[in-house]
Amino acid sequence: MITRRIALLGVAVAALVVAVPALAADDLNLPRQAVALVAPPFVHPHEQATKEGPKIIEFKLVITEKEVVIDEAGTKFQAMTFNGSMPGPLMVVHEGDYVEVTLVNPETNAMPHNIDFHAATGALGGGALTHVNPGEQVVLRWKATRTGTFIYHCAPEGMIPWHVVSGMHGTVMVLPRDGLKNREGKALRYDRLYYVGENDLYVPKDEKGKYKSYETVGESFADTTEVMRKLIPTHVVFNGKVGALTGKNAMTSKVGETVMIVHSQANRDSRPHLIGGHGDYVWETGKFVNPPEKDLETWFIRGGSAGAALYTFRQPGIYAYVNHNLIEAVELGATAHFKVEGKWNNDLMKQVQPPGPILPGKSSAADAVVKTR
């Protein structure tokens, strides 16, 4: 168990090791833009292609340790979060921009944290330069040199997996300055973007098989680690909770609209599938310099990566967006829904005959055999 006292002892050590000037004079003569982040599955307003030159894009991430409810049975979970959401917010910049993140660890937290950006180069993705104890903040700037969707996550020594599976991951999307392209170089655009972050959760159970709850995040550590080591999650969720993206919170679209779905999993493999739809263009590994694959049924998200899929809805109705390990989708929670308005296309699908009694002599396999004799 990590007490506040131990955490504070760490302050002095960290301060000696990381002797970085806190707020150096700005050495970059670039315009600045502060962006207010938005909780998933939504994303802050952004340009898909830009004519402007590189900028310093400022983001603020406030780490919040808090109790959340992760399923409809009311199971309580000690979460660690960026900006209070699981996953943390999606940040969108363009290639060549500088990402300047202020990472705040409020006094009310108990744990030291940091941040590792997979899109950044050096210092463990920034992890080595961003250790903040409760009551501290740090500012890190890194250059977005590669396009694509990239994970960011907390990575404190010795406790990386626990912080990640407690909720501390999110995604940065670095767009090409001239926008997304297909294999032939034709521009691709989206009308809407949804960010679906997937978390595998490991909630300890008591002798009776009931989920245990803890007063503080520190108290949950030992038991949670034991469950984690067996590698069998108790929950696999989108947006932090079973059913977070279903019912009243289902994602919406309409026929003819092109949706981009960014899907991240910081720890474990996933395989998104849109039931009743497809991936028209999919950057399975999430890196836009590689041409997108076309017409996918299911795509693979490697643990520790984020991918992106474009789909234009052609048929109205309810679509399920699942992790197509269906046990994880149905039993553990990895299911989201899309509610799509529009007019039904009978050419694409039609119920020719409703369910009814089996008629002799009409389109049954047995009859077909007889006819061929």
Binding site: G209, A320, V330, E331, K343, P354, P355
Partner: protein, 285 residues
Amino acid sequence: MLLAMKIKAAITAAVLASPIALTVAPVAHPVDSAITEIAAKPFQYRLAGDFSRDGKPAPAPLREALLAASIKIMNRQVTAGEYARCADDGRCPKIPQASAMAERPMVGVSWRDATAYAEWMTNKTGVLHRLPTDEEWVFAAGQKVRDEALPLVDPVDPAQAWIARYEAEANRARPGALDPQPVGAFGRNENGLLDVGGNIWEWTNSCFLRMTLEPTGAARVTNTNCGVRVVQGAHRTYMTDFIRDPRTGGCAAGAPPANLGFRLVVEDKNWPALQRMIVATFTPG
């Protein structure tokens, strides 16, 4: 064993499905404080199942119904302690995730578990215990019944009904607490029944039926599936008989029941077998 169970279920269904008008003389019944007797009187009943007319989906007809006799039904749901006694006797399956508190309603039971319990009670008491039919449940539930006619699927554009149904399901009030609550926590209805439409849905004996509506208004059964039973509570739904946890519904489900439990109907053993079948008599409406 499984085959025998299936045949039995089909026979029960056949008997329940055939409409028999009865005249019933009052009989003395064993007294049990948990049993409420409700005298027959006309009530509104929306038929359960899937309906079509001229090959197109049709709304389930709403009918004026009348049970052939008074009904004797438990005023509360079977409790965890009661079920445990049957399990201890080796006549009901032991359920690992059973309710923790003996005096609270039993949840996490399948239709098969509930039926095993009813048979055990019948053997133990010598009085026939069984699950209610859907008609009986609706009658006893009285004002607590939510008559929910979901929008019809138009084959020309089925998506509109799916969206409307999805929204209707998403807008249903969810019970505040999901765990079983003390008996009576969800109130008493005008027939003296406790906790109707609370956070526990109740198994009925009625099978899932697919029906065609004739020009006369009569409903003709085209398919009977007794592997799926009508489940009643805050809304009516249909469940496969071996399901214990209704929440593991995933993909298509909007708002599944929170818990599955049951209450029983009792009948006097000295009634002739056929007279025991309480049925609704329908008038086209």
